[in-house]
Symmetry: C2
Subunit: 299 residues, 2 copies
């Protein structure tokens, strides 16, 4: 039995892309329900400007409530800059997450700076995190393809992963932000990573199901020794670059496949489906998970 670690990102990466804005109280309830599903790691908020991303307003309150939960779950929040870090530190959870891109155009349009500048911004955040014994996770987006530049060379993700790790990040999440990757690209990237001595335990796969390939890409990643995956309950968030399309891989679809293959996750699949159906009502539209629609089959 091999253990797989799931990083549940629905409450941040998912809700951030939902058009309905949920108050901090509802998001706190959501985090509580998620921790009761058995997730060991949950991303719960982002210290971004509410002017740009109103969906994440009140993340400090969500953190405060999360810290009151009697749980072993580790919580994480996205921090884009020093100011965000100061807010995060008012009630710090276990981890901060940093967000960079593998495409200059995506970096400019998404976080309004070059890739190089984004890594400059990370330095003081990482320094502050170390001082406060907070773990740091790095996100690389548009690893396989960019909505503006098309296919991205795997060497970019390799270079930026090295850069992140050198800066003291404990793990890099490699995101197929627009869901274009096929297993061949995934295999190529991980071969390159291993050839360059990147430890697979420092990598998390972050796949989007926009073109149906997410679980095939997870399978290929497993074959290369990746043991950590990001996913979003109910496939929350959709794809901001293709209206109506799927975005983040749905957690329940991921867990269904993993458990069916004999992997353990520590997560209760039935509770995940219940929670997906609950948040579906809160966001006000049917979610994209295949499993939550079809149900768990008879054994």
């Amino acid at each position: 039995m091999k253990k797989i670690e799931i990083i549940e990102v629905g409450a941040r990466d998912g809700l951030q892309n939902e058009s309905r804005i949920l108050p901090a109280s509802t998001r706190s309830q959501f985090v509580k329900k998620l921790s009761q599903c058995g997730f060991k790691r949950i991303e719960i908020g982002a210290f971004v400007s509410p002017k740009w991303i109103p969906q994440m307003e009140g993340s400090l309150q969500v953190q405060k409530n999360a810290l009151k939960l009697k749980t072993k779950t580790q919580f994480s929040a996205l921090v884009p800059n020093e100011r965000g870090m100061q807010d995060f530190l008012k009630a710090p959870v276990h981890e901060v997450a940093l967000f960079a891109a593998c495409s200059e155009s995506f970096s400019k349009k998404n976080i309004n700076c070059s890739i190089e500048e984004s890594f400059e911004r990370f330095k003081p955040i990482i320094k502050e995190a170390k001082k406060n014994k907070i773990k740091v996770r790095g996100y690389l987006s548009t690893v396989y393809g960019c909505p503006f530049e098309g296919t991205i060379n795997a060497r970019v993700a390799l270079k930026l992963t090295k850069k992140f790790l050198k800066m003291g990040v404990h793990e890099v999440s490699l995101g197929d932000t627009i869901g274009v990757a096929t297993p061949k690209q995934v295999s190529h990237l991980f071969k390159l990573m291993k050839k360059n001595n990147i430890p697979m335990k420092k990598i998390a796969g972050h796949f989007h199901d926009t073109r149906g390939t997410a679980l095939a890409n997870v399978l290929e990643s497993l074959n290369h020794g990746v043991t950590k995956f990001d996913s979003s309950i109910g496939g929350l968030g959709g794809c901001p670059y293709a209206p109506g399309a799927s975005g983040n891989l749905a957690t329940e679809d991921l867990i269904y496949m993993l458990h069916g293959m004999g992997y353990t996750t520590g997560v209760d699949l039935k509770k995940v489906i219940q929670t997906a159906l609950w948040i579906q009502k809160e966001v006000g539209h049917p979610l994209m998970s295949r499993l939550s629609t079809a149900g768990i089959p008879k054994n």
Copy 2:
């Protein structure tokens, strides 16, 4: 560049499970559009009782129209019994398909006889087909799991595949009818098949995306040397055992992954999406394909 053969089953397996009944003329137009996409093999009808399956009424007319097309596409139709075979032979296409199950309960509920009896019914059909130089394809359904009996032992599919091949069937399509398989089960089955000297070129993978695992299962099948896959354009048909859920793997999702991995299919993906959007209007509801919703990405 490895060639993969796609057997497009939307006009039969897909439409058969749609609630809106399309006339033979529309289905003939559909078959024409499909053949223009470049498919080498298309399943176009079924000679079943219109009392039970009104969706397939007029399949003889669809065959007659298909035979008039100037195309190299090979056509196939499902034939359940001798009477159906007599109708099929009034304007025979290249292939007949036979349908059996790996679960007794499913066989009883679906074709109203035991598995053994179903194979008895096949004998005169195969005899007649051979006399008329018509190819015969065998379907095995509920290979991995059954809605009534749960998980099915891989030895059942092995036994029935052998039986089909011994009877002169040129290919057996192995169906994950309710979409429960994970790659571990797929791997287990194909290892068993190979150990028992079943040639992989006589096997077609027929996966359903009901729980999101279809393309992961295709990937696992490719790793075992399977080179033929059934799929349904737009994911037509849904899942009759889970209302609102996905059924047949959507052809365009399959092709997107295959082409992305460097396989060739001879099929024009853009035309497939156009055809999916056309048939979507005819069946009157949005289809389940991830790719047709998201679109082909920038290269």
